[in-house]
Amino acid sequence: MIKIHDISKVFNQGQPNEFWAVRGITLDIDVKRVTVLRGPSGSGKTTLLSMIGCLSRPTSGRIFLGERNLSGLPERFLTQIRRETFGFIFQRFNLIQGLTVLDNVMLPAYPLAPDHGALVQQAHALLEQFGMAAKRESKVEWLSGGEAQRTAICRALLNDPQVLIADEPTANLDTRLSQEFMHIIDELKAAGRTIILTSHDPVVSDAACVDRVITLRDGQVQDS
């Protein structure tokens, strides 16, 4: 269970342009389920997602993963949590141009310096699973949108994370590729992963594999 208790996030606090992106949200997110955060631009869904994934810290409030207080962890432990517990898929995929698909997928493991042979095997297995084996030596700038996304998914799964986080994963995809992505999400859910997505794409929020849709507006939960 991911418990979010009275979380708020303010940007430019004390400045004339102070902005409260998230205001006192309290939520429980079940593990091994697919949860979608839905809402218009500026509703706070990406901010909330980044705090759940330990990419940013709340201004107030607590986030617990099981019994562990994530929002109170010192930075060095957050790095470890990000590396071991969460896998991230970004809206623009954030693949490193100039590197091959294989290198991009292996990148998150480099700080841990695992055995290189085992790492390559693990990356190959993931690329095989997501139909990208033939493209492993291709530079990422040569990939189509769907291929780039599958590469990003492989990269997110490399460290075998418990929770997969995706921010607007279908924003740059057409309907067919979006449906294909949700099919992959369904498989990952079946494999026992917790998945949290942000999206205002109906293909995502209406997908059969989605267990819960939380609607945000103006930094608050409107409907959960």
Partner: protein
Amino acid sequence: MLLSPAILALIGVSAVVTALLLLAAVFAVRVLRHWDLQSGSELQLRLERSTYLISTLVTFAIAAEVVALLLFVYNAESMHTQFVGAMCATGVLNVNAWGWPALLLKITVFFTGSVWLLLNRLDNQGYDYPLIRLKYGLLLVLLPLVAVSGLVQLQYFLNLNPDVITSCCGSLFSPNAQGVAAEVSAVTPRDAMLALYGSGVLVLASGAVYLRRRRFATLFAASATIAFPVAIVAIVSSVALYVYEHPHHHCPFCILKGGHDYIGYWLYIPLFSATALALGVGALAPWHNIASLRTAVAADARRYTMIALTGFALFYAVATYAIVRSNLTMAGTWW
């Protein structure tokens, strides 16, 4: 006041460190008053975000103050040519009434600061800030100590008058003189050496016991607390005499000179470092029951104990070597 790069550096370090600790003390008071890890309040999260920055700044400040002890002694030693009557650091420290208190305060800051650094390192390895109140509480103790040390040092440097004829080590560290230095010099070499090796066996044995059984850390720290002053007394009353090959020269500073192969540094650096680490082991070990620190306490205390034992062993080896290689033969007189 005599201006030299070392004096300016020492005054600068003390001023900067005191200023930094003063800023950190304001934060420390807020931590002691408001810290509550169960709370998700804005203040608590701000304290959590700031603590790592503050403790990192304080770490650099205290580390600078720890290193400053070495510079202080080196500077006192190197300035002896500027004062009539001074043969070594003893004469320079004797130029006015602030010299010896400044040195003793610096030594106190060295040991207190070292223990704080080790505690801070341990606390930073716990995910739930387990020692945060203790380390910031200690900071409030350290601040007045560092401030007084800096002020006394400043008084010492401001009152350095090259026209003053000072006393050399021969008159201060003499059994016939008055004061603590004279009393230490008057300790018989036999008693001093028995105490030196006795306390050495105690500290090495207690450290070995801690390494093997992970128990009696306090005994190890207490043994080091005894071994340190005993070692200083033994250097003054006995070891130094063998280094100088002179039965009446007791100075603990002349052994730092190049003419004596800088053997003093080989004695003091291992002794001070080992004592600081042993005190650190005593300060760390009680926290092994805290879940978030269990692994860190075991690893750190083991590492510090091993380094401390190496330091003590090196000190006793160098002291013994200084005696054995000496041409001074006092068989029949002292032994």
